[in-house]
Each structure stands twice: as C-alpha cells, then as structure tokens.
Chain length 221, copies 2
C-alpha cells in the first residue's frame, strides 16, 4: 500500500499491543486472591474472584483500593495482613511482565527509519510504569496518554499528537488492538491504521492493514 | 537474670531491629533519585537529595507522594515519566530487603518455647508489607502496630498487648533499638526490656539487657 511508504511516524498502543496486559492482570489478580486467602481471608477462590471483578467494575481498574474493598467485603479479621499479602503477590506477578515476542527487536529496527511514539489511554503514571517494567521506555521518542476524564482516545487526541509531532495525520501510522479506540478514532483523525489481532476484537474494522504479530510490521513497511 | 527465665512471650520491634530499615530506605531513595534524573529531572543528585529529605520531613515518611512533590519541585517536563521511574527504582531496591543475619534462625528457635509477636509503630499495611518482603510474617503469632495518630508506642500500647495475650507484662520481653519507644515505654508498662544496639541510639537507657546481634538472644534466654 502506497501510504505506508510515506509514513514518518508510528504510534503504538500499549495494553494488549506491546504486551499481553489482560493475561498478566488476570494472573496477578489470581495470585493476589490466593495470597489473601492464605493470609486468612475467609472466602473460596471462586467467591473472592467474582467479588473482585465486581469491585473493579464499580471502582474502575485504576483504583488503588481493590484489595481494601475485597478485605472489607469478606470481613477479614486481620485486614492489614490480608491487604499487604494481596498487594505483594500482585506486584510480584507484575514484575514478570514482558512484551510480546519480537516487540523490542521490531521497535529497535523501526526507530532507525521512523519516529516511534506510544499512544495510550489511562493514567499517565501507570502507563509509564508499564513501559519501564517492560524495559521499552527508552525506545519511544514520546509517550502520549489520554486520561479517561479527558475522553480517552478520541479523534481529537490523535489530531493533537499530529500537531505536537508537526507531522500531518496521513503520514502517521497508528497500531493497536482496539477497533474503536485505536483504529476508528485514529482513522477519523486521518491517520493510517494497522489492527493488531491480539485479544477478543478481531473483526474487520476498516483498518488499512491487519497483522497478528508485531514482527510482521517489518514486512509491511 | 532471673526474670528472663519466667518470660512467656517476646515482642520484636521491626525497623532497625529485624532488618536495617534506615540503610535500605536511604539506598532506595538514592536509586530513586538517580532514576528520576536519568528520566529527565533537571537536578543534581545533591540538590535532589536535600529536597527529598525536606519533603519527607514536611509530609511524613509514610506519605505516598514524595516523588510527586520532588518532580514538582524540579519542574519536570515529563512528570509521569520521572515519577514512574522513581517509584520503580524505589520498589526494585525494596525488593532486596533482607533481615539482619541470624534473624530467621533465632526467631524459628525461640518460637518453640515462647510466644513470638511483633510490636511496631507506623501504618499497619506498611509494617505487614515489610514482614512479607522479609519472609518473616509466618513466624509471628500476632503483629501489633500502633498508628502514630493513636500515639505510637506508649506504655498504654504495651499494656494493651499484655491484655490481648493474657500474659502479665512482667512475663513479656520487649526487644527493640529505640531507647524511648522500645525500652522506656515497655519498661513503664512493666515489661522486661532488651536493647538491641542497631543504629544511632546506643546509650544506656535502663534496659534489662543489651545485645548487638539478635542471635545473642539464644544465650540470654
């Protein structure tokens, strides 16, 4: 495709694009629940797991108090011990974060030719924490994070990036796994889009290309 | 000494008694500052270090926002990146926490004969986090933490522990490094006291015994 050749910059989504965030989150939560039960929380794994999902839904995935609410829900006798055990297990699991295979190599190659940035949604501090844990932070020229209270990833967010980089949208590629946030919104801003088929949403969504692995970028560009 | 032989329970202070907390905190802060400078904070190590000490003094050592204030003070252009780098480096350093030599072995031996508890001051969640990181949490029958807003380690705190354990104060040994909080306050509650000579405060303070290593307990008891 012709427009790929004219691209000057590539934006990468972070969660479930650079690393399997959903898989890691669910693993970390599982470890945390087991640690809390071991530390004295009176609950079966199934009950605690269902309760935690409800808590996350109610308070948002970025709340720092998930395990406090869980300890309260199951009336832990020693709340501090249970919460500390949960947080510790969660962080230990998080320290095993690693990127999808080939990610670091591909980014290292691409940055010789393109401006490489991250474009994600959530809390800036948390997104940076992920890039640092993944040891990818030095590869990005800039990291753009749209907080949810500012609307998340909208066409306006992508237009702002284009302005900041001083590169027209049509010369910017956005790569991500979310049909709505990564593909349709970036397309509406006039960008070239690549859908990476990680996670659930694999249906066609109008992207300029579809890949299943980040390493396939080298063949496309 | 006769009264040691009648003891039924031993209470252990945590910070600078079970592990070199001051040394680890200062190492972790050093690593955090260096990481923040590397991530783009415009400050010399000396300036940042002095500023951080002031921040800790002003907001208390338990504030979760030390690095936010530091990033603000030095007007970091990319605050989220600098703070995330600082927090990450701090946590990595913390994961190298380990107890003073012989601590685990001594506690394991003593718990065959005595009721072993921890008695500390600060945030319950943080103190539990330390015991979990030190892998000592399973050795204690109970962990008592007096939050600072409840007065910290006062004679009343020690009297409450004695009531909870249903053991008279004169049959409880308190071991710690702080002349005021661990020795004088426990003594005022009627407990037997052992001063462990870690850190700065090594002057005599009326304790029933003085040791320089936790392993020396085995000879005393």
């Amino acid at each position: 495709m012709k427009n790929f050749k004219e691209a000057k910059a590539i934006l990468f989504d972070i969660d479930d694009t650079l690393f399997p965030s959903s898989r890691f989150s669910s693993l970390a939560r599982k470890k945390a629940i087991n640690a809390m039960i071991k530390a004295g929380m009176s609950a079966t794994y199934a009950n605690a797991s269902a309760a935690l999902l409800k808590i996350i839904k109610k308070h948002g995935s970025n709340s720092p108090h998930h395990f406090d609410f869980l300890a309260k829900k199951f009336k832990c006798k020693n709340k501090a011990r249970c919460i500390a055990a949960g947080v510790h297990a969660y962080h230990c699991a998080k320290s095993s974060f690693h990127p999808f295979p080939g990610t670091k190599k591909t980014l290292s190659l691409l940055r010789k030719k393109y401006i490489i940035c991250a474009a994600s949604e959530g809390k800036a501090l948390k997104q940076w924490d992920k890039l640092i844990r993944l040891r990818l932070e030095a590869l990005f020229l800039q990291v753009f994070v749209s907080e949810l209270r500012h609307g998340g990833k909208t066409p306006a967010f992508y237009k702002k990036i284009s302005k900041k980089l001083k590169i027209p949208p049509k010369k910017i590629i956005m790569l991500g796994n979310s049909p709505q946030k990564d593909i349709r919104a970036a397309k509406a801003a006039g960008m070239i889009t690549i859908h990476i088929l990680h996670g659930k949403n694999k249906q066609k969504c109008g992207s300029n290309a579809r890949i299943s692995k980040i390493s396939q970028l080298s063949r496309l560009l």
